[in-house]
């Protein structure tokens, strides 16, 4: 089956309905393994036990950015190809990406207080992630404000593509500016700078959170398709009553 065949919402539902419980089950297993790895991970020689916050903070940051990346691809699908599932994907991904970005901000703040002596500084990395969170809130508000889903999709797609500029700013902020936030330590030229005893639990937790992201995204897309069916039936009912 070609990927474009999945563009049909009914076909998507037929695939998503059995896939969601399986993905949920794999997510639970991945978290059980990841949390056990996180508990057994040694303390960092500089940061002590607070390094365990990294197992939440870093996946939150990655998935916050992944969420906007998914929305950006969907925005192209909406504006260029008018893909039937593109605006459904974009709308479903926004609250999930916002939640992971919020998780990144809160856990980062709780990590910053014992390590930096402050919950917040207006450095480039922290500020650009806060901007991403505000962009998410803006797009969610846009979806809720414009009643016609296709008009809302086009407006949200334009904001999403403009907001995508923030993704490279987040990634390279620690290189372009002098920040209190540390530089890249996993995705960088050369090998990661983290010891394997901490890197492995981090990657396992990131995998578990990614599985959760995919499961939630499919479930939220299914909800959005059902919501649009309810809306279509209401309109049909209103046209008969009128």
């Amino acid at each position: 089956m070609a990927i474009v065949d999945l563009a049909n919402p009914s076909r998507f539902l037929r695939m998503a309905n059995p896939a969601i419980p399986w993905l949920g089950g794999f997510t639970v297993i991945a978290f059980a393994f990841g949390i056990s790895q996180a508990i057994m991970a040694p303390d960092d020689y500089q940061q002590g036990a607070t390094v365990k916050i990294m197992f939440l903070h870093v996946p939150g940051a990655w998935l916050g950015m992944l969420g906007w990346g998914v929305m950006s691809i969907a925005a192209l699908g909406t504006l260029v190809w008018r893909h039937p599932l593109a605006d459904v994907t974009a709308k479903a991904a926004a609250p999930i990406g916002a939640a992971f970005t919020l998780m990144c901000l809160v856990t980062g703040s709780l990590w910053g207080r014992p390590m930096w002596g402050t919950y917040w500084v207006w450095d480039a990395r922290l500020t650009s992630v806060l901007v991403l969170f505000l962009l998410y809130l803006g797009v969610i508000a846009l979806w809720r404000t414009v009643e016609d889903p296709s008009r809302a999709a086009r407006a949200a797609a334009i904001v999403t593509l403009v907001g995508a500029v923030d993704l490279p700013i987040i990634k390279f902020s620690v290189d372009w500016w002098n920040t209190l936030h540390q530089g890249a330590s996993v995705f960088r030229l050369g090998a990661p700078t983290i010891d394997p005893s901490i890197l492995v639990p981090l990657l396992v937790m990131a995998g578990a959170f990614t599985l959760l992201f995919v499961t939630l995204l499919l479930a939220a897309m299914r909800n959005e398709i059902l919501r649009r069916r309810v809306r279509a039936l209401r309109l049909m009912q209103a046209s008969v009553a009128g």
């Binding site: 999930i96 939640a99 998780m103 990590w111 014992p114 909800n223 059902l226 069916r229 039936l233 049909m236």
Partner: protein
């Protein structure tokens, strides 16, 4: 002990992450229940989308 001193921050971070994940799961599940219930209500009134739905609506219109 450094680890003990910072335990409150670690626990708070994990509690915050649990709250975010729980809120997301609850939002998705409750929304699914709500939309499914609305669709079931339409179906119980003989309304469905597609050709069958249009036929049912046409019949309802004629009956009216």
């Amino acid at each position: 002990m450094e680890g003990t001193n910072h335990l409150a921050f670690i626990l708070a971070a994990y509690a915050a992450a649990c709250a975010v994940v729980a809120a997301l799961i609850a939002w998705v599940m409750l929304d699914y229940r709500a939309q499914s219930a609305k669709l079931a209500e339409f179906e119980s009134r003989g309304m469905a989308r597609g050709a069958a739905g249009r036929a049912a609506m046409k019949k309802a219109e004629e009956d009216a």
